[in-house]
Symmetry: C2
Subunit: 327 residues, 2 copies
């Protein structure tokens, strides 16, 4: 149902302030409302419902900077919510790249997902930097030819500045997101064919069986599985986070953020101009029969966001609003 953004934000703030300071709640809700405005339903308010909702997280300690060099930083999140810690990490990686041309920041000891990587890399791109972000989550996806969950849904995102809006690309390396399963389960719906297997390795369309089994690589091939493994390494061992098995590590999410100043290699003005030209050329290439428009990564989300901004309203799943006691 349609809900006024302002009203929704107030309600979300109230929910979050049960457990977090006003300033913390503001940063977390900023992310959540953004995701809803973008229409990224599996990465928004859904994180406030279910068995382990974000607002019930009990942080172990305040965030700690465990390592800090000119180019790099390691943040121990102390189990603070990822949408908060990852915004701090984003600020810090931007600062490093602005000062030295390159920054790399790792976050570990987070006990929630930071949602859509697009939110963070877009911010980096808006600072005239190239943003790269990837995250690992508890094992829920099988390797190619395997049936046990060994990789997280392991999303990756890229943001590039242009002369217009940034190019923002963001994807899960599994054929479906974990919150996609959560949403389907909550709605009592089936999931598509050929995105998940049950515990015995048979294709399943039942969310619950998929949760006990494993998601498949997004392309069902060794390539998608390889990319998932790359992210498992970058946001796992490199980020001092966990890898592969959920028994030893339990709920260890991990995130790696990279920011690169295009001036390291070229002139940022020329780079932005050429990226805009690249977009224009891709969009004006010939289309498949029946296709009206070639979409650039992030275009649909941005359209949805701008529409919400204009009208002041967003469409939110009734189930979620009820679950949160908002209606």
């Amino acid at each position: 149902m349609k809900i006024k953004i302002k009203e929704l934000k107030e309600k979300v703030m109230k929910t979050l302030m049960q457990n977090f300071s006003k300033e913390e709640a503001e940063r977390i809700s900023e992310y959540l409302i953004w995701a809803e405005m973008c229409g990224i339903k599996t990465q928004g308010l859904l994180k406030l419902i279910g068995d382990n909702p974000l607002q019930k997280i009990k942080p172990l300690h305040k965030i700690k900077i465990e390592k800090d060099t000119k180019l790099s930083q390691v943040i121990n999140a102390g189990a603070m919510p990822a949408p908060l810690v990852s915004q701090i990490a984003t600020d810090n990686v931007i600062e490093k790249a602005k000062a030295h041309g390159f920054g790399i920041v790792a976050v570990h000891n987070i006990f929630s997902s930071n949602g859509a990587q697009g939110f963070y890399v877009e911010r980096i791109a808006k600072e005239n930097l190239i943003g790269i972000m990837c995250s690992r989550s508890p094992a829920s996806a099988a390797a190619f030819d395997g049936i046990d969950p060994v990789f997280g849904t392991n999303p990756i995102g890229f943001g590039f500045p242009t002369n217009d809006e940034p190019i923002v690309f963001d994807m899960a390396t599994s054929a479906m997101t974990w919150y996609g399963l959560v949403l389907a389960k909550a709605r009592g719906e089936k999931i598509p064919e050929n995105v998940a297997i049950d515990n015995n390795g048979k294709i399943t369309t039942i969310p619950d069986e998929a949760m006990k089994g494993a998601l498949l690589p997004f392309d069902k091939s060794y390539k998608g599985s390889g990319i998932a493994m790359i992210i498992e390494i970058l946001a796992g061992p490199l980020a001092s986070s966990a890898w592969v098995d959920n028994k030893t590590f339990k709920e260890e999410w991990g995130t790696l953020l990279i920011a690169i100043d295009p001036n390291l290699l070229t002139d940022v003005k020329k780079f932005k101009e050429n990226c805009s030209d690249l977009v224009k050329k891709v969009k004006s290439s010939r289309k498949k029969e029946g296709i009206n428009e070639i979409k650039i990564p992030g275009e649909d989300s941005r359209k949805s966001y701008q529409e919400a901004l204009k009208t002041g309203f967003i469409e939110v799943d009734e189930l979620i609003l009820k679950g949160l006691g908002y209606i």
Copy 2:
């Protein structure tokens, strides 16, 4: 047919020294023989046959370092062969990352493909660094929903040090490589269904029609197309190379190399140990019915390489050996 590696190397050196110095020919042949030993047939000696073979390249000038900072370097290749220039770029990115924790090197003005990214990133990984490499090539792949070629086959590679052999992942973002088309055409073979379209956007299995049409994204979805576009930006505008259209830029390949010292974030010894453990855990996860082994990226190539090293012989396509006048 089987050929002695030593003999093949001598013949390749002779071919290359028609146009290049002994030292240059040695570096180029090192790559080519490696690819053949690894069984990466579309990225090896095949580059010496066809309309525009590597040994016939007429360099415009010696390579020029156009920009050089502590962390970065831009190389104008002067149309020197990519397998040579990319090895120099690899040496330089390693040097920068060893000195400062991070290095990024771009190569443009190359008029050939550097082949399998795995060769270069493995070298970086053997120096206890994380290697990332991507390259753009003349437009030959369509965007998702498009039918014109707008992206190159745009490969990406990653190398990670472990306590055993490095993890080396390398893939083209198109459903088939360009040299795959060249090879199929030379053999008079058809290509698989659903990897390429003709100039009118219809699926084709005829290599020649695919060459005039476009390859599809490796996963035939917006995700693969998005990754291809990311590489088009990183190895195109960021690397001072070309992007999207072949009319303006003609044959402008471009390459971006990144090396990251794990010590920026963690202890490299611990990192290597944990990467080895990650591999072990993925490999020991349960397998799909009928599957004997879960393969780690790069495993097949390494097995083939080691086998060749042991026997001293490799299997090379007769067509290629004849084309080169070796038999």
